[in-house]
């Protein structure tokens, strides 16, 4: 059967499965890295400098003799937790603000939407830079900065969804059964807007991973002894000719995280 609908459904299924698999792999890698790394990621070893990948050092070693696999594990933990915190804080505040303004409309809606548009007028990274310069560098500071920069985009998606649903008969019915505004928003509208909110969250995660990497790469993200994948990439650049496997492994994990979550979002959109 070559029903176009069936074909489309199949394609989304593949995206969903591939995305879920990649995301799961990255999350597993992150989770394990939180409790166990094969070596101490910061321990230098003059005897094992610049070794290419072997069974002993899966991703090789850098010019200080540090085990890159262990370092990448640590970097992934830092990057993923920063991105998760960004999505949690930015998504939480943004979705809540968008829900309230979209559902109630009125003056608060006008003011907050204007405010959001103003923030959006600056590139997210610039906004994040501004916040970091106020908070100082560091892992959670970067997460907060990115969260602030991302709030308007989450707010917009959620505002549109809530504004579109609030006049629908099923919402009015729920009100007629005596449900409060909060009850209606939480029990009825939120589940019905998830299909549009979830992709926004996954895109937000991907953007957060990339933005954090960019900021750390530029030296305005995490500070040593902390190290994220972006920070490591800038380290790896300094020894690109001597230990190309360092940059490649950081890049590969970054790519896996962004691609996996991105595919997951695409797949969820029509699931």
């Amino acid at each position: 059967m070559s029903d176009p609908k069936v074909k489309k459904a199949k394609k989304h299924n593949i995206l969903l499965i591939a995305g879920a698999a990649l995301t799961l792999a990255v999350l597993l890698f992150t989770f394990v890295g939180a409790f166990y790394t094969p070596r101490d990621p910061d321990a230098m070893n003059a005897a094992e400098k610049l070794l290419p990948p072997t069974l002993n050092h899966l991703f090789g070693t850098d010019k200080f003799g540090r085990d890159i696999f262990s370092r990448v594990m640590k970097g992934t933990l830092s990057t993923v937790s920063t991105a998760l915190l960004t999505v949690l804080a930015g998504g939480g505040v943004g979705i809540l603000a968008g829900a309230v303004t979209g559902y109630f409309g009125g003056k608060a809606d006008a003011v907050l939407t204007r405010l959001g548009d103003t923030v959006t007028a600056f590139p997210a990274v610039l906004t994040a830079l501004l916040v970091v310069s106020l908070l100082g560098p560091g892992g959670w500071q970067v997460a907060i900065a990115l969260a602030v920069a991302f709030i308007p985009s989450f707010m917009r998606v959620s505002r549109v969804s809530f504004a579109g649903q609030r006049r629908l008969p099923y919402v009015i019915s729920a009100r007629l059964q005596g449900a409060s505004h909060a009850g209606v928003m939480l029990r009825h509208i939120l589940p019905n807007t998830l299909p549009s909110l979830l992709p926004a969250l996954t895109i937000g995660f991907s953007n957060a991973v990339l933005a954090e990497a960019g900021m750390s790469y530029l030296g305005i993200g995490v500070t040593p002894p902390d190290a994220s994948l972006g920070y490591m990439l800038s380290e790896a650049q300094g020894m690109l000719a001597l230990a190309p496997w360092y940059a490649v492994s950081c890049g590969a994990v970054l790519l896996a995280a962004v691609l996996g979550v991105g595919l997951l979002g695409e797949g969820l959109k029509d699931a």
Partner: protein, 260 residues
């Protein structure tokens, strides 16, 4: 029971009053029919009774007395209680009025969840009883079904059950059968009559279709452009309409359906 006195509703965006000072009474245990063509103000009247008008967008005056309490003077918290207990409401399109992601049973028990301290078990028992009362076959299965798994007629029965479950004294029905096909329409009307007779629940049945109202109601009010132009016993009104507008409404019904 329900007494509407000089209800006047004007939307700020419109010149003409949507409802221009109507008086309407639903007596204890009766089904009052409210008919009128599209745009005559039937739904706006129902929305006012249900407390769903956006007070920032329109001006409402007059009184809506439900068992002696003026609904228009209630604050929103007390209105919620009235909505959940004394007043049930059923809309035209049941497929849109049900939350697509929530099982029918959970939706039907929402008012109980909000307004009573019943346990989960007690709520389910009450809902199953209401499902049986509206003649849903296999209530257990319906309880665990999502709206899209039910037919239009079953969905509307779920809505009626949801309105019944709190033992209200008045149910508002705004075009409850318009979205359903003729056979199902007749079943639902018969069901409403039976519920009215057995449980003595008062109903306000709104429809643009005189034949629907004729089958279910003894008393009918005719609405045109925001006003009640004629009111009286259904049979008298049908055999000798006094107002030209009522005559026109009558003429709009195909003969075959009048004879039924």
């Amino acid at each position: 029971m329900l007494e509407i006195k000089d209800l006047r509703i004007r939307f700020y965006t419109r010149e003409r009053d949507a409802v221009g000072g109507i008086n309407l009474t639903v007596n204890d245990g009766e089904i009052l029919g409210l008919v009128g063509e599209s745009g005559s103000g039937k739904t706006v009247t129902a929305m006012a009774i249900g407390g769903l008008l956006d007070r920032a967008a329109c001006d409402v005056s007059g009184q809506i007395l439900l068992d002696g309490t003026d609904l228009l003077t209630l604050d929103s918290a007390r209105f919620r209680k009235v909505r959940g207990k004394t007043l049930g409401v059923v809309f035209q399109d049941p497929s849109a009025a049900l939350d697509p992601l929530m099982k029918a049973g959970r939706q039907a028990e929402e008012a109980l969840l909000i307004h009573t301290s019943m346990t989960k078990k007690e709520r389910k028992a009450a809902v199953l009883q209401a499902f049986a009362a509206v003649e849903l076959r296999d209530p257990e299965r319906v309880y665990d079904s999502y709206p899209h798994e039910l037919s239009g007629g079953m969905q509307q029965r779920v809505m009626i059950a949801a309105a019944l479950v709190t033992d209200p004294s008045l149910i508002l029905l705004d075009e409850p059968t318009t979205a359903l096909d003729a056979g199902v329409q007749a079943e639902i009307l018969a069901l409403l009559k039976r519920l009215n007779a057995e449980k003595r629940i008062s109903m306000l049945l709104i429809s643009h279709d005189l034949s629907v109202v004729r089958r279910a109601c003894r008393r009918v009010a005719v609405m045109q452009r925001g006003r009640i132009v004629e009111e009286g016993e259904a049979e008298a009104l049908f055999s000798s309409p006094a107002h030209p507008y009522t005559k026109r409404l009558l003429e709009a019904i195909p003969l075959s359906r009048l004879r039924r």
